[in-house]
């Protein structure tokens, strides 16, 4: 399977799972559908870019670094959007986003077929 597809699948699934943990908080429970969709979309973007990177560079270490940086970046954007609505949840959004990005980065390195060398 293509590494980009691997990234997309894991990004969406892990993003959805990460979003679903909002169920544990009574204050976010009513917004769960929107959170899960947003989190899946964020995961999808991280997976897409991590998968693209994994096609170019075969290195587990760099895969984890790039995945976690992308996860952190997109989580930061989400946290900023959240803050604009008057809620300060930087740590709650960015820390798990960072780790989910690292997991997606790792998985795109370990699974899927890398790009074929151009002749």
């Amino acid at each position: 399977m293509n590494k980009i597809v691997v990234g997309l699948i894991f990004g969406i699934v892990l993003g959805a799972v990460d979003g679903a943990t909002a169920l544990f908080y009574p204050e976010t429970r009513p917004l769960i559908a929107g959170i899960m969709v947003g989190s899946s979309f964020k995961g999808m973007l991280v997976g897409l870019l991590s998968g693209w990177f994994a096609r170019k560079v075969q290195s587990t270490g760099w895969g984890i670094v790039v995945g976690s940086v992308l996860g952190l970046l997109f989580a930061f954007i989400v946290a900023v959007m959240d803050a604009s609505q008057g809620k300060q949840h930087y740590l709650e959004i960015m820390l798990p986003g960072f780790i989910v990005g690292a997991i997606v980065g790792f998985l795109t390195q370990k699974m899927g077929t890398p790009a074929m060398a151009k002749s």
């Binding site: 943990t21 544990f24 908080y25 587990t60 984890i64 740590l91 709650e92 820390l95 798990p96 780790i99 989910v100 690292a102 997991i103 790792f106 998985l107 370990k110």
Partner: protein, 275 residues
């Protein structure tokens, strides 16, 4: 009396030296002695290079032709074969510098490095078997580790050789499965039994007294070694569940650490949140 004895010994020694007159080789020193003959370090005057000259005590039947058919990086190439003026058969081959496996085994080498040597020896055997050549006498003394880590398997397929105790398969007629046995014995010799139960099982299966219960070929033996190195279950051992879990954890350590970190962070954020 002592003087004359030493003279007799000396004469006997000189008489046993091969007569290289009329050949392109000049003797330097004896470097090895086996059941079939003696190996000398020699100089090829024409090409001005050092070679290993094997002088056989038995007539040349098919050994050099046999080895010449085996062009493989782990098989010592043969340069020339013939008969010396004293009637003894000889062949010249590449002089391999480095360490013999029995000396090498005493060194402080990692398990991965020891398995690399086994794999190289196995690849040479598998290649020879694909050309219907059997080694018949695989043992540490017949494996050399070159200066750059290259592995050479020597002393191929002499019909008259009956194998060496400890490395010889118990069957009366030696075949490809006998080489599997010797390779298993080599694994036992090179890798301590305590290093891994999976490796011990591989060695036990390869050295089974009943040939039918061994690996069916060197290639299947090597496939099990590969599986071991990749952290997968080996064919030779039905591992207990706790070992399977341990293997899974060590294969997926990074992923498990990341998942543990995620779970830990989520718990921490949940319990530390402001009401």
């Amino acid at each position: 009396m002592e003087v004359s004895d030493s003279i007799v010994d000396h004469l006997r020694q000189v008489a046993s030296l091969p007569d290289l007159s009329g050949t392109r080789y000049e003797l330097e020193a004896e470097i090895g002695r086996g059941g079939m003959g003696i190996v000398y370090a020699s100089r090829d005057r024409e090409l001005d290079r050092r070679v290993a000259l094997k002088v056989l005590d038995v007539p040349l039947i098919g050994e050099p032709q046999l080895i010449a058919r085996l062009e493989h990086p782990a098989i010592v190439p043969i340069y020339e074969a013939g008969v010396l003026p004293d009637g003894r058969a000889f062949y010249a081959m590449k002089l391999v510098g480095g360490t013999r496996l029995d000396d090498y085994a005493k060194g402080e080498y990692s398990l991965a490095e020891r398995l690399r040597v086994i794999r190289r020896v196995g690849e040479a055997l598998a290649f020879a078997h694909s050309r219907d050549v059997i080694h018949r006498d695989l043992k540490p003394q017949n494996v050399m580790i070159g200066e750059f880590g290259e592995v050479y398997v020597m002393d191929w397929g002499v019909e008259a050789v009956a194998g060496t105790a400890g490395f010889r398969a118990p069957e009366a007629t030696l075949g490809k499965l006998s080489d599997v046995y010797s390779l298993g014995a080599l694994l036992k010799y090179l890798v301590p039994e305590s290093s891994s139960p999976a490796l011990s099982a591989i060695a036990r299966k390869a050295t089974n007294a009943d040939g039918a219960d061994r690996y069916s070929s060197v290639t299947t033996f090597l496939a099990d070694i590969d599986r071991f190195e990749q952290g997968l279950a080996v064919e030779a051992w039905s591992e207990p569940i706790w070992h399977r879990l341990q293997r899974f954890a060590s294969r997926n350590a990074i992923l498990l650490w990341l998942l543990a970190a995620y779970t830990g962070v989520k718990f921490l954020l949940f319990f530390l949140r402001k009401p």
